[in-house]
Amino acid sequence: MSYHLQPASVMKTLGSILFILFLGSAAAGAQEAKPVYKVYVDGLSCPFCTYGIEKKFSKVEGVEKIDIDLKTGTTLITMAAGKTLDEKTARETVKAAGFTLRDFEQVQVGPEDKGKE
């Protein structure tokens, strides 16, 4: 017994696979999208000082990841899915660490925020 693959059949199968993969990745992407905020901190000028910022933000509810860039004085705060960070909390947290918040912006929205758009 022998099988002969028809080009049209192969293309159809591949198309189905690609469509399923696309749907899967889109769904995963929607699940992984988490709110990310950029916090601009004034007065931050040595590596040792940055630990206060990291430690204070790590105690804020919902904060999942903290990435500090000393050169630009910015801190990226990634929140857990479904959690948000408001400017007042960010300002108080930076103040508690001993520094001054200059600016605050959301650079990635979570799925719950997308629904509000």
């Binding site: 004034d42 000028s45 040595c46 001993g98 520094f99």
Partner: protein, 309 residues
């Protein structure tokens, strides 16, 4: 002969040892990226702790009296800082000291020594000026504190009671205060401090008050260009300590062989990361204008680490 040795011993540490605790320890109260030999105005985060440990070797041996005096102090100094608020920080400084004094009198070489917990210093620092801009900060913070008589001040040896300055503790409660200013950028940091300590009487002995003017420059030697994230910094450090001490008083009378003014220059290195700092420096006396036959300082070596937790 014994009285002679004891008497000379009392005078010996006049200029240097009389202010041992303030001289060696209080100046290093801060645990932030900061000068090696004194304080800083940089913040301690609210409700957070920082820790600093320093080992100090202090040697004096240039003796104008002809008694060939040699004095050594080893000290392990622990500093714990706590941020009450982002503006108010409190510090505790606990030294463990090992002091020895060698002296030749009537052709006999004698050693007098002691070791133990020294005097605990507690102080608070409050930031009154804070000017933050991107990548730099300027701050001014006064501080006040007290040195408590927690160290043993009644040790004896075969020659009798040790001189006050060889004791691990002073026996007196001594207030102190001052003002520190810091300007820090991503490339360098400058600090300046003025401070004063009032010594009180204990055991019929009173160390001379101490006034200090300190300055520090820390310059980033490496990495030359800033990387992203939080890279480690290697700072070259250059500091000065101008220290004046009044004459000691013993039984109400001033000791003419104590007190004076010393200027130290301090080259050093610091490696600073986000969690820890290692550092070392040598205090070299370049000017010593001392009273009478006060023993001159050779050098002070400091090395240690700081830790964020």
């Amino acid at each position: 002969m014994v009285l002679q040795i004891v008497g000379l011993g009392e005078r010996i540490i006049g200029t240097i040892g009389a202010s041992t605790a303030f001289f060696l320890f209080v100046g290093m109260g801060s645990a932030w990226s900061a000068p090696i030999t004194f304080n800083t105005a940089l913040p301690v985060a609210e409700d957070e702790f920082i820790f600093r440990q320093q080992v100090v070797y202090d040697r004096s041996g240039d003796d104008p009296s002809g008694a060939d005096r040699d004095r050594e102090v080893f000290a392990a100094v622990s500093v714990l800082g706590y941020g009450v608020t982002s503006d108010l920080a409190v510090f505790g400084i606990m030294p463990y000291v090992d002091k020895s004094l060698e002296i030749t009198s009537m052709g006999v070489r004698r050693t007098r020594d002691t070791r133990g917990i020294g005097d605990l210093a507690l102080f608070g620092r409050y930031t009154i000026v804070q000017n933050d801009i991107p990548g730099r900060t300027f701050r001014i913070a006064p501080f006040v504190g007290v040195e408590l008589p927690t160290g043993e001040d009644d040790e004896t040896d075969g020659l009798g009671r040790l001189p006050a300055s060889v004791q691990a503790g002073s026996g007196s409660t001594d207030p102190f205060g001052g003002l520190v200013a810091t300007y820090q950028t991503l490339d360098f940091e400058m600090d300046a401090q003025a401070s004063y300590k009032i010594s009180t009487e204990a055991n019929n002995f009173e160390f001379g008050d101490v006034a200090r003017l300190d300055a520090s420059l820390q310059y980033r030697l490496w990495s030359r260009s800033l990387q992203s994230g939080v890279p480690g910094f290697l700072y070259g450090v250059f500091e000065e300590n101008l220290i004046h001490q009044n004459k000691n008083r013993s039984n109400g009378a001033k000791d003419p062989d104590s007190g004076g003014t010393t200027l130290f220059l301090v080259p050093g290195l610091q490696y600073v990361t986000q969690r820890w700092i290692v550092e070392g420096g040598v205090q070299i006396p370049v000017v010593q204008d001392l009273n009478g036959m006060a023993l001159e300082k050779d050098f002070i070596v400091r090395c240690g680490f700081r830790f964020n937790f």
